[in-house]
């Protein structure tokens, strides 16, 4: 081994175009419009009058911008902590890009269910794919927007995914405590409709009810007061 081979090679940092304010604004606008379009197409079932349309549009626009700024700030903070050179504007740009990509992946997966439904892929697969898409988006962002090495980016992204999952779990847990008596239902109907390969029998439904009873009995202390 030569002396030269022991010298660590400096990572070649890709030359990134300096994002202009105009480009950032355009990206944010595209991101917001895409979010609004997705909402109108998939969620809202009532016809909107003009004032409702503008209220929802402005609301979503503000929400998306705030979320983008917030997430950019978080990732910028992480890269600062990791001591990798970066700028907030660069993060903002990549968060916008990742945001657009994320929405497309998210809705693309939903639409893809129609196409490959006959394969009978289980519902859990979609959740896994969503999580993986989020993870890769994070990796891409850190790898591109900073001078991180890929391994660093993967580790930090894993931490970020764990953080998000933890926050999500905490919120859900608190909600369950607050609304303790309310039933928690999985309302995903769309996935159900297109994953109909092996519907259960009534016998299995009965067994599910019996398991439910055991659970409910275990969780409910009887009172004699």
């Amino acid at each position: 081994m030569t002396a030269d081979s022991n010298v660590p090679q400096a990572r070649e940092v890709p030359t990134l175009p300096r994002p202009s304010l105009l480009l950032l604004s355009l990206l944010l606008l595209v991101y917001s419009l895409f979010g609004i379009a997705v909402y109108v197409i998939t969620e809202n079932h009532e016809p909107l009058d003009e004032s409702e349309f503008w209220i929802i549009t402005v609301f979503l626009f503000v929400v998306i911008i705030l979320l983008t700024l917030f997430w950019s700030f978080i990732t910028w903070g992480i890269s600062k902590l990791a001591r990798v050179a970066t700028s907030f504007r660069l993060h903002l740009k990549y968060v916008c890009l990742i945001g657009i990509a994320w929405m497309m992946v998210d809705k693309g997966l939903e639409i893809a269910q129609f196409a490959i439904a006959p394969l009978g892929l289980p519902l859990i697969l979609w959740s896994t794919l969503h999580l993986m898409a989020f993870f890769f988006a994070m990796v891409a962002q850190f790898a591109w927007a900073t001078t991180m090495q890929l391994r660093q980016a993967v580790l930090i992204s894993l931490s970020a995914v764990a953080l998000v999952a933890g926050i999500w779990y905490t919120i859900t847990f608190v909600q369950k405590r607050v609304h303790q008596s309310a039933p928690q239902m999985n309302l995903d109907l769309l996935s159900s409709q297109f994953l109909l390969v092996s519907p259960r029998s009534q016998q299995e439904l009965r067994e599910a009810a019996r398991s439910l009873r055991v659970l409910v009995d275990e969780e409910t202390p009887r009172s004699t007061e």
Binding site: L196, L212, T220
Partner: protein, 439 residues
């Protein structure tokens, strides 16, 4: 949609009673009742002393919180009233006491000797020695017979209300007499008399517009026979809870047995076959609504009325709703967003004190019912104090069409798990697809 708006007479408003000065009709009766009393005036004067005001008194303030009516049925001071008049006393005896007032006599304390939850009756015992007790009418009464209801409507003083006996109300479960007359809050537990002074029913509730309901007097007779004449033993709170549980179990066992022995009407609509109403146990109502985006055609059915346990808990009902939703304008995403709202079990639908209930738990699965795919949710919660009882909900959404769907709710409250299984199984077996006939 059900168009009735029952108003239970014994709510927290005022209830009263009334007294009638007349000769005693002791039980066992020593003298035969008069065969005919012609006018309301003479009926009132004759029997007023047999009717008393029952007040729920807050021990802390000494003031009344609710008022009802009662009437003497034995010379040992036993009174019949509604269960709902005394329910809060039973549940919080440390906070309330029962006060009996009769004319100018001094107030007396009363205790609960027993009750019939399903028929909303309670038997009280007092230390009073009534000069007159009312006789319970043993036989049939013809529809159209003139009858008189006694009580203290809205705590405005003793009153006699003239009305018409209209037989057993159709589609009411438990059984109720249809009384046409303006009975009001405060008359709960009061007697409705024939012109000879014998009791045909006990005032219990009203739908307004002079449509009142009475508990048939034979249930009061049964309650009297089921209990010792006068019991000195003081029932403990846990004894009452046990009795309430036992009676609720018996009520829903009876209801479910009747439900299982009677076929559902089968409804065919929008290509689906679904279970409809059950003859003699309840009723169904249809409703149709339409807007720019979709239409909903709804069928709501029930079997049995809720049983009032206390101000926080009414239970023992079985009901189901089928909604046929269709849209030409919504895309599949929007249509399922709409369906999600329909099937989401909002917290408001499933209220109740945490003292009474555990938390709901749900499971969902996709099930084939007679070849028709459905997403089915089952949600269950257990009662904490009424051991062995559950609230269960079954929600179904058909998955065979992208922009039209049948969604159904079946709700059972205060049932045993065995009965939940029986009812849901039979209910599900009635679903199916109606084959489209060719031209």
């Amino acid at each position: 949609m059900n168009q009735r708006f029952p108003f239970v007479l014994g709510s927290l408003a005022s209830f009263l009673l009334f007294w009638f000065g007349a000769e005693a009709i002791a039980r066992p009766r020593k003298e035969p009742p008069p065969t005919t009393v012609i006018s309301a005036t003479s009926l009132f004067e004759r029997f007023r002393s047999a009717v008393v005001k029952v007040s729920l008194i807050d021990k802390a303030t000494g003031e009344q919180e609710a008022v009802g009516t009662g009437f003497f049925v034995s010379s040992e001071g036993q009174l019949i009233t509604n269960y709902h008049v005394v329910a809060e006393y039973l549940h919080r005896p440390e906070r309330y006491r029962l006060r009996i007032q009769r004319g100018e006599d001094r107030d007396e304390e009363a205790r609960v000797q027993g009750f019939d939850l399903a028929n909303d009756l309670a038997l009280l015992r007092t230390s009073l020695s009534p000069s007159i007790v009312l006789q319970l009418h043993p036989g049939e009464v013809q529809k159209g017979t003139r009858v008189y209801s006694l009580g203290h409507p809205l705590d405005l003083g003793s009153s006699i209300i003239e009305g018409t006996y209209n037989g057993i109300a159709e589609r009411e479960y438990p059984e109720r007499i249809h009384f046409s007359g303006p009975i009001n809050s405060g008359m709960s537990g009061g007697p409705t008399l024939l012109t000879d002074g014998s009791v045909v029913g006990v005032n219990v509730s009203t739908y307004g517009n002079e449509v009142g309901l009475l508990v048939p007097v034979r249930f009061a007779e049964q309650l009297l026979k089921s209990l010792p004449a006068v019991s000195e033993a003081k029932a403990t709170d846990s004894t009452w809870t046990e009795q309430i549980t036992r009676q609720l179990l018996a009520y829903q066992d009876d209801l479910v047995a009747k439900l299982m022995s009677t076929d559902h009407t089968i409804i065919t609509k929008e290509g689906y076959r679904v279970p409809g109403g059950v003859e003699g146990l309840g009723e169904c109502w249809s409703d149709f609504s339409e807007d720019e985006t979709h239409s909903d055609s709804e069928l709501s059915c029930s079997a049995g009325e809720e049983v009032f346990v206390n101000d926080e808990l009414s239970t023992g009902s079985i009901g189901w709703t089928h909604t046929f939703s269709k849209s030409e304008r919504l895309n599949v995403f929007q249509f399922y967003a709409l369906l999600r709202e329909h099937v989401d079990l909002a917290e408001s639908t499933y209220g109740g004190s945490r003292r009474d209930f555990g938390s709901y738990r749900c499971v969902d699965t996709i099930v084939s019912l007679q070849g028709l795919p459905f997403k089915v949710w089952q949600c269950l919660r257990a009662y904490r104090r009424l051991s062995g009882l559950y609230d269960g909900h079954l929600v179904l959404v058909s998955l065979n069409e992208p922009r039209s769907a049948l969604h159904t709710w079946l709700s059972l409250t205060g049932v045993t798990f065995a009965n939940y299984e029986k009812v849901t199984e039979r209910f599900l077996s009635a679903f199916g697809k109606v084959e489209e006939k060719g031209p």
